[in-house]
Each structure stands twice: as C-alpha cells, then as structure tokens.
C-alpha cells in the first residue's frame, strides 16, 4: 500500500474524555460512589449557599441556644443565629479557604519540586535542606507559632498554611518528577535538543499529574483538617464568618447539657474528609495499574 499519494485520513481513535469518565464510573466501587455523591452535595451547598440557607450567615433570628424547631431545624447558637444556615454558609467558607490554601501550596511546592528534580545540583540541595528543616516541625505546631507572631487573620492563615504545606508538596513532587526525569524518554528529548519548556510540560508533567492529583486530594484533607483544628482552637477563621471548626468551639459547652450541638459541624467536617479519602483510595487503585488492559 502506498499512502504517499493518497491523503492521510484522520483516524478518530481518540476516545473522548466523557467516554473515559463514563467507563471509569461504571467500575467504581460503592465507597467511591458514596464519596463522589457527598462531594457533589457539599459543592452544591458551597456554591448555592445563599439560595439554600433559610437565613443569612450572621442574621440573628431569635433567642440564643434554642432547641430545634420548625423555624430553626437545628436550633440557634450562642447569640441566636440559625445553626443550619451557618452550617450551609460554613461549607462555602471552610471548603473555599482550604481549597485556596491547597492550590497555593501546590503552585509553590509543585513548581519548586519539578524545578529541583530537573536542575539538581546546588539549587536542589539548597531547597531540599531548607525543606528538611521545616519538615522536622509538625505543621499544626508551626502554624500556631506563626499565628502568634503575625497575629490571627485570614490572609496570614492562608499564607502560613500554604507555605508549610508546600514543603510537603515539594517533597512529593520532587520525588515523582525525579522518577520521570531519569527515564530514557527525557534523555531522548534532551538528545534531540529540546528546550526546558518542552521537557517540563510535554515530557514530565503529563506523567506526574496522576500521582499529584491523588496527592491533591490528600493534602486538601490535611489542610482542611488543620484549618478546622486551628479554628477550633480559636486562632483560625475568626467570627463572624461562619466556619465549622469555630462552630464546634462555640457550642462545645452545650455538650455537658446533653445537647449534641458541637457534633453537627464536626460531623460535617468528618463526612467531607471521609468522602474525599474514599475517592482518593479508588483513584490510587486505578492509577497504580495505569492502562493495564485498556
């Protein structure tokens, strides 16, 4: 067959993204389905909070510490705000802040990690040693200390946590990038004379994306839990912003009176991290056998 004269027809072997997702969802285990549905519900709550919540975020609707009633399904808090409304707004605030922090952490840690793996030498040594020192201090402890120094406000919280988490992201992204950098296909691109941009974005990044996406899920959980813990300790997200961690702290005294008020926001936190973990667990199983038996 001689195709030099006949024009090449474009072969549409490219399986669409939607088709791929559909295939994957078919084989998803029950736990992963549970996780995905929960995440979707949380996302809806976060995006449409003002529409879903019966009352405003810091609107005082009645007396303090009311029990649940047809008007206030979950009762009211210590200054008479509707607990359910604050829970719904809390989704937006708590998840949003954790998401921004994690993105920032990946932007810093991820790019430095890939750069260090690629350049090696002094740059890699330098960053790695500094990161090693930071890794020797637990994140929560360091965050507490830094918040004591710079004072508790939202921007400080995001920057501090993003920087601390970036050290962890750096470690992982450097390791996975290094696995890719030593591959013959990268050497082959080098021998071809390719520039840095091609090597990073066409050769390495597509290969390290799957583990990094999985890690993103886990880091998000970690950041989310750390922010909740800091808020619970009273140094994280500050009132009057509705936030689950602080809501636990504000209502904790009620538990002695037999009212499970702090359990609602705490359960909201737990449910989300459990859901993300289930999905990540499924992802790990899938990507560990990359393209086996397509």
């Amino acid at each position: 067959m001689n195709t030099a004269t006949t024009p090449v027809r474009t072969i549409k072997a490219r399986r669409s993204v939607i088709e791929n997702i559909r295939r994957n969802l078919k084989t998803a285990p029950l736990t992963a389905w549970f996780g995905m549905i929960v995440i979707l519900l949380y996302a809806i709550c976060a995006v449409f909070a003002p529409l879903l919540a019966p009352y405003g975020e810091s609107e005082i609707v009645g007396k303090a510490y009311q029990l649940s009633s047809p008007e206030n399904w979950l009762g009211t808090d210590q200054i008479g705000r509707d607990t359910l409304s604050r829970l719904i707004f809390g989704a937006r605030n708590t998840i949003g802040i954790a998401l921004i922090t994690t993105l920032l952490s990946f932007l810093i840690g991820g790019s430095l990690g890939v750069l260090a793996a690629l350049k090696r030498g002094i740059l890699d040594q330098g960053i790695s040693r500094v990161v090693d020192a930071f890794l020797a201090i637990p994140v929560l402890i360091f965050a507490l200390m830094m918040l004591a120094v710079v004072g508790k406000n939202l921007i400080n919280l995001i920057i501090i946590l993003a920087l601390l988490d970036a050290t962890r992201v750096f470690r992982l992204s450097r390791a996975v990038a290094l696995n890719s950098v030593v591959m013959d296909y990268v050497e082959s691109a080098r021998l071809r004379g390719e520039g840095m941009g091609w090597i990073v974005f066409r050769e390495i990044v597509p290969n390290i994306l799957p583990p990094l996406i999985t890690e993103f899920g886990l880091r998000f959980c970690f950041v989310f839990l750390t922010i909740s813990a800091l808020s619970f300790l009273g140094v994280g997200i500050q009132p009057p912003t509705a936030d689950w961690g602080s809501m636990v702290a504000e209502s904790k005294s009620l538990i002695s009176f037999g009212r499970p008020a702090p359990l609602y926001p705490a359960a909201a936190i737990a449910l989300l991290t459990i859901a993300v973990n289930f999905v990540v667990d499924w992802f790990l199983h899938k990507t560990s056998g990359l393209r086996d038996g397509h």
Partner: protein, 547 residues
C-alpha cells in the same frame, strides 16, 4: 526416614496430568496453564523452555504443589511418588518441600534472607525436618560447597549473602537445595541474571552435582542452548500450552514445530560482512569517568564506517554503554576527541547545533522507558519531523504514516499509546522515531535484549533492511554474541573500559583470539548438547598444560 527410601532408576517420580492453572488479574481469572501433561523419571533432567508468558515458572512451581498468591490450580492432577499433591494437606506438602523437592530461584541475591549466615540457611531444612543433626548437616554443607567448587568451602558458609558474589550465591543456593538429597530439584532460570563467563561455571557445577547424586530435575529457562547442556528431554511451552516434546538431541536436530525453530531464530541470522573505508564517526583515544577517580573508558579508539554496523560487545561493567554516553555528549570525554565526518564533535550536548544532533540518533534497550507513556505514536514520531525538518500538520502526519509503513506497521497505529502495543511494536516505534530525523548514525544500546527471540530476529532483520535503504550506520551495543554474529560488519570487544580487540567480523570471530575474547566467545552456550562437556575438557586440559 525419607532419605533411606530406595531410589529406583527408571521409576516415574512425577506425573502431572491435564494441569490447569489460572491467574487473577483485572478482576477475572485468566488461564496461565491450559492443560499440560508432564512425566519425569527418577534421575532424569527435564528442560522447560519458552518465552515470557509461556507459563514455565508457574508449571515448575506447580510440580511442587505450590501456586503463587493470585494463582490457583483449577484442574488436573499432580502425583509425586504416588502422592497426590493437590489433594495433600498443607502440612504434607510442606514435609516434602526442601527435603524431597527443592527449589532454586532465579535471583539468589533476593532469595537468601539478608539476616542470616549462608550456612544456617543451607542446613535449615535438614535440621528442621530432623533429617540430620546440625553438626552433620554443616559438615555436609561444607562438602557440598567443595563439590560445587566454591572458594574457601570451609568458611564461605559463615558469610552473609551480601558478602559473596552473584555466581557464588547461585551455587550456594544449589547446595541449599541439595542439602537433604532431594528426589527432585526445580531450577527456575538460575543463570539468567549472570554474565556469560560466570554462567559457564555455575552451569558446570549444577550439572555435576545433579549427576553425582542422581537427582531428577526440572530446568526452566528461555535459552535453548543452556537447557541443551542440562536436560535429557525438553518440553517447549507457549501461552500455557505444550508445543513440542522430545529428547534433547532429537529436538535440536529435527524440531517438528515451526515455533521451536524460531527459538533460535537470531542464531540463523547471518549478515554478510562488508568493509568500508568511508569513516562516519571516529572516536580517538577517549577517556571518560563519572566521578573522576575510576576511568570507565580508558583510551578507547573506535571507527564507524558509513552504512555499516559496528558491534560493541562486552559484559556488564565493560564501559560499552558509557561509550554511547560519550558520543552523544551526555558524558563529555575527559581526554581524546570524537570526529564526526572528519570534524571534531563538540564535547557537550549543549554546544552541539540542531543539525549535528539530528545526524546522531539513539535507540534504547527498553522501549517502555524510552517512549513517553502519555504520548501517542503520532506525537512520538511526529516530534522529530517537526523539530528538525519543520514538517507540520498534514505533511507531518503523512510522513508519520510513511515511517510507520517502513517499520512494517500501518496507519491504524497512529493514535495508539505505548501501553497499547506489544514489546516488539514499541521497539519499532523507537526505531521510527530515530529514522524520522534522517540520521547518519544510530546508536543502538542493547535494543533487542529485552525481547523474545523471535521478536529479536524480526527487529534485527528490520534494522538491516533499513540500513540497506537509507545507508545509515549503526553502533550496536550488546552483550549477546548471537546478535553480534547476526548483524555486524565490524566488532569491538570491550573489557573493563578498554578495547580488547577490534576488526572485521570474520577476523575477530576466528582464531587466534586474545585471552579475553577467547573466554567470552567460548563461554557462549552453543546448540550442541556436548558443548559444555567439550568446553570443560578443553579448559582443564589447558589448565594442566599451563601448570
């Protein structure tokens, strides 16, 4: 007691009938062994041969009544000396293992426990099963070490596994298998991880001891020449089925199946030698080292003529791959010069211009790591076209298809990912990527050593056809002499960073040989059941003469 049992020669020891084994992957059970019969008499050595995926290791382990995790025996029977191993309890099987059926694994380094002395592991079964006292077992182990020609047989057992070499460890494992004088030993690719010169010693020791104690054995390998030295009878397996079974001599002389013949396909390939004075690449007095202290290349001079193939042959650590790195500029030489078309080549990669880079291409051993798993064939082959030749869009795709056809694949492969192709197809894509740059010289670094024989033959033939068509030169790095014979015009023999010998193929492969070439060439197993015997006789005669 087990060891007192009378060993009658000629009596059937192992009888496997209609054996089926499944393996679990992707949530389903797939057949690995699809109904195989196997019988073995006392004192007989049976060779199991086949390529990757043939199920030979699975069958070998099944002969012990053992299935790896993720495998299950789904049908048939395994009778060992009158005992049904499938019906037997875990305890009954365990009583046989080590004492009456022993196993020798491929990697001795991984199969010895790093935490215990070699001798403790050698005598473990004998002592645990109360076959011998510890003192007696240890004395016996030292005797076995001596019979297996291990250095310092009286003290080597007091060492830890990481303290002795791979070849010695493999022999120590044979001693371990032999410690209870079993009726049957399963050898599972015991020499595959060794260099050829070490392989000879280990093979000789293993064959000798099996003969001395009249032990039956199943010898598993992918190398027909190796098994020919060891086995009385050979079974050829493919995809879990029996292809052919015959005595060793009969099989080598007149195989009935086409597939059996393909197992030595590469050996039948013989390119007529052709000499040329038109030198494309000249490596002149080159030294190179990684850390500065030890020279990995020591005063290496090699010439590659245009349109010809120069094979660089040597064992691991000979510096042959470093030579490739020096030429490509990844490891600038510390001394000497490399000339390309008569002009000195800039030492480092960064100093070379695009057109120089285009002219020298490289193909790697493993297409799995050389092709980006996330790029489609269209982009893998298309990139050099775009990068060097400026081809874009439809022109580029047209050329990609032409290249696919030149490597005997068709355009339906254009949107495949590497993971969706077989090993041979992937290596073809690597070749197409190198060809896309329209190079003058291609460095081939062990490009066939990860492939099955028949695929090797196809790839080598393809490379030769392409050379005829494009007049490209190959610098062919390999450790396999059969490949060298098949493809080269000239040969360079390397040993410990130095060039031992070089010249036209006919000259290098015929006597007189320098000592190392002699050792290397004579160590390559031949398709002759008497080869090892002959070689050992020749070597001992020579040793006597020199003594």
């Amino acid at each position: 007691m087990v060891t007192d049992k009378k060993r009658v020669k000629g009596e059937t020891l192992l009888d496997i009938k209609g054996l089926k084994i499944d393996g679990y992957s992707d949530d389903v059970w797939n057949p690995i062994i699809k109904g195989i019969d196997l019988t073995l008499k006392r004192g007989e050595v049976l060779g199991l041969i086949g390529e990757s995926g043939a199920g030979k290791s699975t069958l070998g382990l099944a002969a012990m009544g053992f299935a790896r995790p993720g495998c299950r025996i789904s049908g048939g029977s395994i009778m060992f000396d009158g005992m049904d191993l499938i019906a037997a309890s875990e305890e009954q099987r365990r009583a046989l293992w080590g004492s009456r059926i022993a196993y020798v694994a491929q990697s001795a380094a991984a199969s010895f426990n790093p935490a215990h002395h070699i001798i403790d592991q050698t005598v473990e079964t004998a002592v645990a099963h109360n076959i011998m006292t510890r003192e007696k077992a240890e004395a016996d182990a030292r005797d076995l070490y001596k019979r297996l020609q291990l250095p310092n047989p009286n003290t080597i057992g007091d060492r830890f596994p990481h303290q002795v070499s791979g070849g010695q460890l493999q022999r120590a494992m044979t001693a371990m298998a032999m410690s209870c004088r079993p009726d049957l030993i399963i050898f599972d690719e015991p020499t595959t991880a060794l260099d050829v010169t070490t392989q000879v010693e280990v093979l000789a020791a293993m064959r000798d001891i099996v003969e001395q104690f009249d032990t039956a054995a199943i010898y598993i390998t992918h190398d027909l020449a190796v098994v020919a030295q060891m086995a009385h009878r050979i079974m050829v397996l493919r995809y879990g089925n029996l292809v052919e079974e015959a005595t060793t001599r009969a099989m080598l002389k007149s195989p009935t199946q086409e597939y059996t013949r393909s197992l030595w396909a590469v050996r039948k390939l013989q390119k007529p030698e052709s000499i040329s004075d038109d030198i494309a690449l000249r490596i002149h007095n080159v030294d190179a080292s990684y850390s500065g202290a030890i020279k990995v290349l020591d005063n290496v001079t090699v010439q590659v003529p245009r349109g010809r193939t120069v094979a660089v042959v040597g064992e691991s650590g000979s510096g042959k791959s470093t030579l490739a790195r020096a030429i490509t500029g990844l490891l600038p030489p510390s001394r000497g010069e490399i000339y390309f078309n008569g002009k000195p080549l800039p030492r480092t990669l960064a100093e070379r211009d695009k057109d120089t880079l285009r002219r020298i291409q490289m193909i790697y051993q493993s297409a799995d790591t050389a092709l980006n798993p996330r790029q489609k064939v269209r982009d893998i082959i298309g990139r050099p076209l775009e990068f060097y030749l400026g081809l874009k869009g439809a022109d580029r795709d047209r050329r990609v298809v032409e290249l696919l056809e030149s490597i005997e694949l068709n355009e339906s492969y254009i949107d495949r990912l590497p993971g969706e192709m077989s090993g041979g197809q992937k290596q073809r894509i690597s070749i197409a990527r190198a060809l896309a740059a329209e190079p003058e010289i291609i460095i081939c670094d062990e490009v066939t050593s990860a492939l099955d024989q028949i695929v090797q033959e196809e790839i080598l033939s393809l490379l030769m056809r392409l050379q005829k068509k494009t007049n490209v030169s190959y610098l062919f790095i390999t450790h396999d002499i059969a490949t060298v014979r098949a493809i080269s015009d000239e040969i360079v023999v390397m040993h410990q960073g130095k060039v031992v010998q070089q010249g036209p193929k006919s000259q290098v492969l015929s006597p007189p040989f320098p000592a190392y070439t002699e050792l290397l060439l004579s160590s390559v197993p031949e398709m002759d059941p008497d080869w090892l015997t002959g070689l050992l006789a020749k070597r001992s005669k020579k040793a006597k003469v020199s003594a």
